[in-house]
């Protein structure tokens, strides 16, 4: 199946899944890309905002305020709403802050939403590699921030779940079990980290939603999704959850062997938007990565959002002014040949 407006590459679950399947970490669940389940292609346009933020001591709240204005996120929309912020806290290690969303970004996002009149902001995460959420909060530094600001934390790994029909239908999973907190949130906001990833190419706002899925039903790590196909499951979770907004912490991201073992990379940006594929495509371009060569982004193109550059209105900084190529490793299949401009 050819992507709209792009004849360079087909949506091809099979190539990656063949590779992953041969490693035992993925499984070719079915044939080609389905267009069922409300994910039929259509024209999309989306706005994405890029702010230069040099370090975590900077005024991040103001960057959010400007971004909200540019993206028409105002008090009339947010007032009285319950906002669930979902950071990336996959696995904490003291002194390795580039693994997780920085606590300062989470705090600033909470403050920005509260300034718009949100009735409550809560932070929820189901860390993929660690069952000990207190350790995650202690070692990431987020625990002190949340306690200081009286922001509640919900460990999504242990939340009672409810079954939702899988609206993406790219994996064999007929339903997805989502945490109860999700049903009580008016707005779901992915607050991700800008990182390369050794199975998915990149981990940004879409991949970050793996952490919504309770470990009590999917395990630690959420290996069920590996067997169903990581890219397919990223698509399915996003199609089903339909998050309202996303933020990517790219002040210091991770390059190379992400999501854990890579090196810090200072990109000096925070990127945000209402449409996650558009936001992630913009982040990929900032990282010097072709979003059409990232399987889950290519698959999302036209179905969950736009990834073509001309369909995304860039607000704030231009991509060219902040582009900084993240190191990619040739030995990692998912990172091979995905550099922007490479053949």
């Amino acid at each position: 199946m050819t992507l709209r407006g792009n004849t360079r590459k087909k949506v091809d679950w099979g190539r990656r899944e063949f590779l992953l399947g041969s490693l035992g970490w993925g499984f070719a669940a079915s044939g080609g890309l389905s267009v069922l389940g409300g994910c039929t292609k259509r024209d999309w346009r989306a706005d994405t905002f890029i702010a230069k933020v040099q370090n975590y001591e900077a005024d991040i709240v103001s960057a959010f305020g400007k971004g909200f204005r540019e993206l028409a996120v105002g008090a009339e929309e947010i007032k009285g709403k319950r906002i669930l912020l979902k950071p990336n806290l996959i696995e904490p290690h003291a002194g390795a802050g580039h693994i997780n969303t920085h606590p300062g970004v989470v705090r600033a996002a909470a403050e920005a939403f509260l300034r718009l009149g949100a009735s409550e902001v809560l932070v929820g995460e189901g860390p993929g590699h660690s069952r000990d959420s207190v350790l995650v909060l202690e070692e990431s530094g987020l625990g002190d921030v949340l306690a200081g600001e009286h922001i509640p934390f919900v460990d999504l790994n242990y939340e009672p779940g409810y079954k939702a029909r899988n609206l993406g239908r790219q994996s064999r999973l007929a339903t997805l079990t989502l945490p109860a907190t999700l049903a009580r949130a008016d707005w779901v906001v992915s607050v991700a980290k800008m990182k390369t990833h050794h199975w998915a190419g990149v981990t940004l706002s879409m991949k970050n939603l793996f952490g919504l899925m309770p470990g009590i039903y999917y395990g630690w790590p959420k290996n069920v999704f590996h067997w169903e196909g990581i890219d397919r499951c990223i698509f399915d979770i996003n199609a089903t959850v339909k998050p309202h907004f996303a933020i990517v912490d790219g002040i210091v991201g991770m390059e190379g062997d992400g999501p854990i073992m890579g090196n810090p990379h200072h990109a000096g940006v925070i990127v945000m938007g209402r449409n996650l594929p558009a936001l992630d495509a913009t982040c990929a371009r900032i990282m010097g990565i072709d979003p059409y060569k990232v399987v889950h982004l290519a698959a999302s193109s036209g179905r969950l959002g736009p990834i073509r550059e001309s369909d995304i209105r860039q607000r704030g900084e231009r991509i060219a002014s902040v582009r900084t190529d993240f190191a990619l490793l040739d030995r990692i299949h998912a990172q091979r040949g995905i550099r922007l401009g490479s053949r």
């Binding site: 041969s22 306690a147 790590p221 067997w227």
Partner: protein
Amino acid sequence: MMKLPDSQIVSQMETLRGRALSGGGFSHRPAGEYRADATAWAAMALAATGTEEGLLGMARDRIADEQQEDGRVSVSPEHPEAFWPTPLAVLAWEGSPAHREAQSRAVTFLEKTTGRHFVKDPDAPVKHDTSIKGWSWVAGSHSMVEPTALSLIALRTAGQGEDGRTREAIRMLMDRQLSAGGWNYGNTSVYGQELYPQTENTGLALDALAGRVSRNDVARSLGYLEERLTHVRAPLSLGWGLLGLGAWGARPGNARLWLRESYELQRKYGPYDTTLLSLLLLSFLATGGLGSVVGRQGAG
């Protein structure tokens, strides 16, 4: 009722009792619904303190009532594939003649169940031997360290001898041990880089392997854990870390002080869930690994 040795622990017991449900069993959080894992942990804690025999019996009965035909105990009836509480149930029923049959069926389920395995590809980016069978969190997924270690502890506690299945699971854990010491959830090296160890998994694996491999085989892991516990106070990591060291006769002298500091973290994070409260209590009472407190009435 026996006298518990510490007022803070008495307070935690009261909190635990407050989680008991009228129909038997325990919730994971206050005012929550029944959960098999929370109930099994609470039952272990009640049994170890020798208190609340009525609640203990009702908890054990509730797990048995929810047990499925094939012996598994799942996290909820809607999710039979999430059978990871089964070894917890085996431990919760230990020492109860009335639940011997239920325990036996759960043991049989564990003996018949494995994670998903495949022949190791020498060119694969994951280094561990993917063919060695252990146990998984949920059906249809790969064997991981924690469910494998917990199943080994449960089978040993239930008096199962070392058979081929057990020996293979021990081999799996040894294969997943990091060369620098410690275990994580279950990956050793990916694309040529060794991953980080994790405290909780290391404690569990050490507890499961005590008496089954030589001290020399796990020396680096013991060293990693001893160093980590000097500053980790998060309850799951500390609780399992102390049990893991205790199983090797290396329980630190400050263990109870550290456990009190862990309880204190509730001022910052709010009340711990039932599993954490029970684990801390068991770790407080333990002299060695989990086996030193489970199935021994009034271990304190």
